[in-house]
Amino acid sequence: MHISILDIYHARESLIHKLDPRVKILASFIIILTTVILPEGAWVSQGVLFGLLILLSISARLGPFFTIRRAFIALPFLLAALPIPFLTSGPTAWVVPGLGWVVSSNGLIRFMTILVRTWVAVQAGILLSATTEVSDLLWGLNALRAPKLIVTIIGFMVRYLFILADEALRMLRARTSRSPKLAGVKRPGLIWQGRVAGMMVGNLFLRSLERSERVHAAMLSRGYDGEMRIFHQPSMKNLDWIMLLSILSIALSVIVLSLWS
């Protein structure tokens, strides 16, 4: 078993992949902000945003369905919004047969709006991480004045993420191989299992701590003084500006459109 960052980033030769990371980060935020501030029930505007994302996904050579397939991650949270259709006052749209619960049309619009907003936002995020390498993403965040130290810490985290995840998977495999299911033998209790998982976590912590000490010593031996230096310097080209401005103008016109109707 092996986990790699390649599951998230999808290397392609495309216009979108070559864009400046700053443009992609800003564009994602613009799209997410727009979908969130659009008034409830602005279906046409939301549809335009959704279409824009599909178009971007196609021009990134990921195909129209790529982002849709991965977008299901936010669905469990929709449970939290489930009471809305029942609890918003307004004209009755539907009555749940058997239970007599009333679904109002206002509530339904509100619920659907939340669903669409979340969907569009998650798609935008997926597109960002599928077309931008993590190192570029971090560089972009840094260039956009995100706190430097926290971005450096995140960079370190990403670098060791998959090493430690593999370590965790090895420990899980070891546990599985020593815990056969035997006929007639009762499974150990929940508390015992929880404690074992806890001790594995503690063990993993010790290994991580030791690794960090080793890494720190190696960094010191190479002259590390608390400052990370990066050489990589993309610059904004004409295409980057065009892309950023066109997404900004689409967002603005979508907002105007929703206010109009």
């Binding site: 979908t35 936002a121 430690l164 976590v201």
Partner: protein, 316 residues
């Protein structure tokens, strides 16, 4: 497999833009303070240590154990990080974890990131740390005392995270407080047991094999200032929940009352110490839930005290 969506990661679309902005503002301030504090504590070790421990929390979330009905218990990690590294360092570690989950794995939204950092990083770290320190002082200083105190601290940290998440959703007019609060808090009362067991187990093995790792957390800086931050933030959130802001759509609550026992029919919590998380003589469901959380906390703390003391004595 590494991605088990935690019901605490708020996606975009669930928070109103104003709430999202407020969350970012608060998160930037608190993380800024955390950066300064840990820099003083750790010096140039800060970056590699925080980075690798953040990777550790992320990886540790994959270590699970099966709980009934297809769900599994696993770690959120804020309390564990705070017990070992102190609250400010834990804030940084969890900020990195939550940011990576949002930016790379889409687990939690980008606009909602501010609140997600506050809920899962700041609040879990600080409530966990202070409950742990307080209980540990009360129980004694043996290994079982540490384990009992960490169990209770981890449980309460998850509960506080759930509580604040529900209140933020209510303030955004996304989920009525009367339903979101009991549901979130009820579900996490169970999830918190898993968190407590894993945290307790981890602390136990650390105490047995390398007790000196706890020194970092014990000498962590800024205890007083931190108390103010946690109390202030919690108080603000709870006060906001009862302000007129919380119910721009006030008929929601009355509607629940009219629908009669909608709550008890919709949510049938499998394990609750207090039935339906409501105490009979208080009427408003949200008030009742907060009251029930306080009672539950007292109960867990008392249990930790009793069991911890007993185990300490039997160990000599």
């Amino acid at each position: 497999m590494l991605l088990s969506p935690e019901p605490l990661h708020i996606p975009d679309g669930f928070l109103s833009p104003i709430m999202a902005f407020l969350g970012w503002l608060l998160a930037v301030i608190v993380v800024g303070i955390a950066l300064r504090q840990t820099r003083q504590q750790l010096g140039e070790r800060q970056v590699p240590l925080m980075g690798i421990l953040a990777a550790f929390i992320f990886a540790a979330q994959a270590i699970n154990f099966p709980v009934a009905a297809g769900t599994s218990g696993h770690l959120l990690g804020g309390a564990l990080a705070a017990i070992v590294m102190g609250p400010w360092a834990a804030t940084l570690i969890m900020t990195a974890v939550v940011s990576v989950q949002a930016f790379i794995f889409q687990d939690g939204g980008l606009l909602a990131l501010g609140w997600n950092i506050l809920n899962m990083g700041v609040l879990t770290a600080f409530t966990g740390y202070f409950s742990y320190r307080w209980l540990w002082g009360k129980i004694g200083s043996s290994t079982p005392a540490r384990v009992a105190a960490s169990f209770a601290a981890a449980w309460i940290s998850v509960e506080v995270g759930a509580l604040s998440t529900a209140i933020e959703l209510a303030l955004s007019n996304t989920s009525p407080l009367a339903i979101a609060l009991p549901a979130m808090v009820g579900v996490h009362a169970v999830i918190g047991i898993g968190e407590g067991l894993i945290t307790g187990g981890a602390v136990r093995i650390l105490q047995l094999s390398r007790p000196e790792v706890f020194e970092v957390g014990e000498s962590a800086p800024g205890k007083m200032g931190a108390t103010f931050i946690v109390c202030g933030l919690l108080l603000a959130i709870i006060l906001a929940a009862f302000s007129p802001l919380a119910s721009p759509n006030p008929d929601g609550l009355e509607f629940v009352a009219e629908q009669g026992d909608f709550l008890s029919r919709a949510l049938d919590p499998s394990i609750t110490i207090l039935p339906d998380y409501t105490v009979p003589f208080i009427k408003h469901p949200a008030t009742t839930t907060i009251f029930a959380v306080m009672l539950g906390t007292l109960l867990v703390f008392a249990l930790a005290l009793i069991i911890g003391r007993k185990a300490s004595r039997s160990e000599g």
